[in-house]
């Protein structure tokens, strides 16, 4: 499965990659902000995206809105420090399928990923 990680922090992408590797996912593309991600989705064709919110150049919410113009179905998990209910609602309205609040344990992130993929399979 092809998974794209969108986060301006290389440390955070590395932590997420480690969790994904534990779950058996090895085909991973990284992007450092929304603009970088938009430039890569066409060629990489991700089957799952993990997206941060607060990033320079193009933030996560703007990326999700732009991405959903071209792809309504690929699951997106927002992985972010933004935890207020209003922000979660905003993200879901933009087209996010699931939400993980930082800080997270590897187990928490792994569970959300599996939940999201299971929901896609059963849809």
């Amino acid at each position: 499965m092809r998974i794209m990680l969108v986060d301006d922090s290389k440390t955070m992408r590395s932590i997420q990659k480690s969790v994904l590797s534990t779950l058996g996912f090895k085909q991973i593309e990284e992007a450092c902000d929304g603009q970088d991600a938009l430039s890569k989705v066409g060629a990489f064709k991700p089957e799952l995206l993990l997206v941060d919110w607060n990033m320079p150049n193009m933030d996560g919410l703007s990326f999700v809105k732009a991405y959903r113009q071209q792809d309504k179905g690929t699951p997106i998990i927002m992985v972010t420090t933004e935890s207020e209910k209003s922000r979660v609602v905003e993200a879901i309205k933009a087209g996010v399928n699931n939400y993980v609040v930082k800080p997270f344990t590897p187990d928490m992130l792994g569970k959300r990923i599996q939940e999201t993929l299971a929901a896609k399979t059963s849809a």
Partner: protein, 159 residues
């Protein structure tokens, strides 16, 4: 400073360091910062804007920061490397985000982090913004969180 501005960030420290660094943090007694000179060698800085304005700074001795970064990222980093700064930035990002969520004012945003590395550096806050320094102790060493926040004026909040 409103005491309700301090507790969320202390809880944020405990949550972030406990969850992502696997490090217990003992919180010391907060004091008002009277000098602009930062105490340590490495600082992660985040700006806060909206209904509350100011900044959050995490400051560490170099050795403590290196140990914490190694536990957080899983890799040893030199203090001069971009990966080190990235990890410190992400720590202050998560602490600030966690704290912001529990502020009494809900209309606040956080900036992208900046990281300063160098002995005796100065982090200046607005001269009218009170700054509270909270010492934190861990098995990797001590560090501080500096919370400089005030309610925005009506014009600034609406901008």
């Amino acid at each position: 400073m409103n005491a309700a501005y301090i507790k969320p960030f202390i809880q944020g420290i405990r949550s972030v360091f406990g969850t992502m660094v696997n490090l217990e943090v003992a919180i010391g007694t907060p004091t008002i910062k009277s000098e602009p000179l930062s105490t340590y060698d490495v600082s992660g800085v985040i700006g806060i804007s909206g209904e509350v304005v100011g900044s959050i700074v995490l400051s560490f001795p170099a050795e403590t920061a290196q140990q914490i970064v190694a536990r957080f990222s899983g890799e040893e980093c030199d203090v001069t490397s971009p990966d080190f700064a990235d990890a410190v930035g992400e720590l202050v990002n998560m602490v600030s985000g966690a704290g912001k969520a529990d502020l009494p004012h809900k209309g606040a945003s956080i900036s992208c982090p900046s990281v300063v590395v160098g002995k005796n550096h100065r982090i200046a806050t607005g001269h009218e913004t009170p700054c509270v320094v909270v010492p934190c102790k861990t098995e990797c060493g001590q560090f501080v969180i500096e919370i400089a926040l005030k309610e925005a004026t009506v014009g600034a909040a609406a901008a």
